[in-house]
């Protein structure tokens, strides 16, 4: 189960500057636990008290995971996950 995970600039100090890392897990929660075992500290920057942090957005195949099961969202081989800080919209 290889899942590609894109890491935002602000968390790359924890991944030796890697923009993309691979992880595994049947759910998003398992994926972050797996990542944290290899990149200690990254889990706590994304998840707090069992929930996604307020200013962190996580996208599974470009869809916001808050709408597809949150941390319990199921993953399958080849999925890609993008982690981004929440920012104010563009032009608007």
């Amino acid at each position: 189960m290889a899942i590609e995970v894109r890491i935002p600039t602000i968390l790359r100090n924890l991944t030796d500057d890697a923009k993309v890392v691979e992880g595994k897990g049947d759910t998003l929660a398992e994926l972050f636990t797996d990542l944290d075992s290899r990149y200690p500290g990254i889990g706590a920057r994304i998840v707090e008290n069992g929930k996604l942090r307020r200013f962190i957005n996580v996208y599974l195949n470009d869809e916001d995971v808050r709408f597809v099961g949150g941390l319990e969202a199921e993953l399958k081989d080849g999925d890609n996950v993008t982690v981004l800080p929440a920012v104010a919209g563009g032009s608007l």
Binding site: N57, V68, T82, A86, A88, G89, G90, S91
Partner: protein, 315 residues
């Protein structure tokens, strides 16, 4: 159609079918042409409603100064209304926005203060809040948290859509202040509880996400997640590709953020087709492409255009 003044002509924009991009007669796409507003974007609705409300509340009277963080369209709309109503307009804008937007703001008499490109609109919001504290007599309408922004869409955009397309099954729009999606979403849900409300959020280059720490992140005060069915993050290459498809196939010359909304709308259309359901999917053309010509979004190959957009606020 005749109106007493430019401001009276606000809204009432056409909803046009997209026969070539729609996958089948049962699954149809519809574009709401918001570039047909007084200054050429959907933001005219919010700007007008926010200023009217502030006048009613006694916060704004001739001679006042309006302050707003904006990377373009809202500032342009506010500057136009401010000029007609006798207010001074100050915008705080990230420096990496297109040249046209800067020129248009100046044309309508707005003063522009630039914030660092790093941090994007977050930084503009932060700087504007600081300036508001330093000038307590200035009025910050604050589109990200002003209920009149969402109310503009609850009272105008939403009813227009339902009147033109009573069979609507999906509404798709870009996500920035969230005003359009919150206002239209709330109105449509009250009248058609099963309608799907879908957000298309632009995904910028890395510079824009260059915050110093995660706690600087930002969620607009207007945002109510429970009104959305789902939310997509649309990368710049997909938004560009769809913007060009819209031009090639349907003749509509839209800004790049509209390509993002079309991308999400087409995703919804494919899903409805797979599930064998009919669908009428309306999405928002937020503005036309004129203001983005200098970004190079419409020139050369997609790869070249994408490279040129890196580091710019394209929506």
């Amino acid at each position: 159609m005749r109106y007493d003044s430019l401001l009276d002509s606000l809204g009432g924009t056409p909803l046009v079918g997209l026969p070539r991009l729609s996958p089948s007669p049962e699954v149809r796409l519809w574009a709401k042409l918001e570039d047909r507003n007084p200054t050429g974007s959907i933001k005219d609705r919010a700007a007008f409603f926010m200023i009217e409300q502030a006048e009613k509340d006694g916060l704004l009277f001739p001679g006042c100064t309006i302050l707003e963080p904006t990377s373009g369209n809202t500032g342009i709309s506010l500057a136009m209304v401010a000029k007609l109503r006798g207010y001074r307009m100050v915008c705080v804008m990230p420096e990496n926005t297109s040249a046209e937007r800067k020129q248009l703001l100046a044309m309508w008499g707005a003063e522009v203060h630039f914030s660092d490109a790093a941090g994007g609109s977050n930084e503009a919001v932060r700087v504007a809040k600081e300036m508001a504290e330093a000038h307590p007599d200035w009025v910050m309408l604050y589109q990200y948290g002003n209920p009149a922004n969402a109310r503009a869409h609850y009272e105008t955009t939403g009813p227009e859509l339902l009147a033109d397309l009573p069979e609507i099954t999906h509404f798709v729009a870009g996500l920035g202040t969230t005003g359009t999606l919150m206002g239209v979403g709330r109105y449509l849900r009250e009248h058609k509880p099963d309608v799907r409300i879908v957000a298309a959020e632009p995904r910028y280059g890395e510079l824009v996400y260059g915050l110093r720490n995660i706690d600087e992140g930002f969620v607009p005060e207007l945002y109510d997640e429970s009104l959305l069915t789902t939310r997509f993050s649309v990368p710049a290459d997909a938004a560009l590709k769809r913007t060009r498809e819209l031009l090639d196939q349907e003749g509509i010359f839209a800004g790049v953020s509209t390509g993002g909304a079309l991308h999400a709308a087409l995703g919804m259309a494919r899903k409805a087709e797979r599930e064998g359901r009919s669908a009428d999917i309306a999405f928002v053309i937020a503005d036309a492409g004129w203001k983005y010509l200098s970004t190079g979004a419409y020139e050369g190959t997609l790869e070249e255009a994408e490279e040129r957009l890196e580091g710019q606020l394209w929506a």
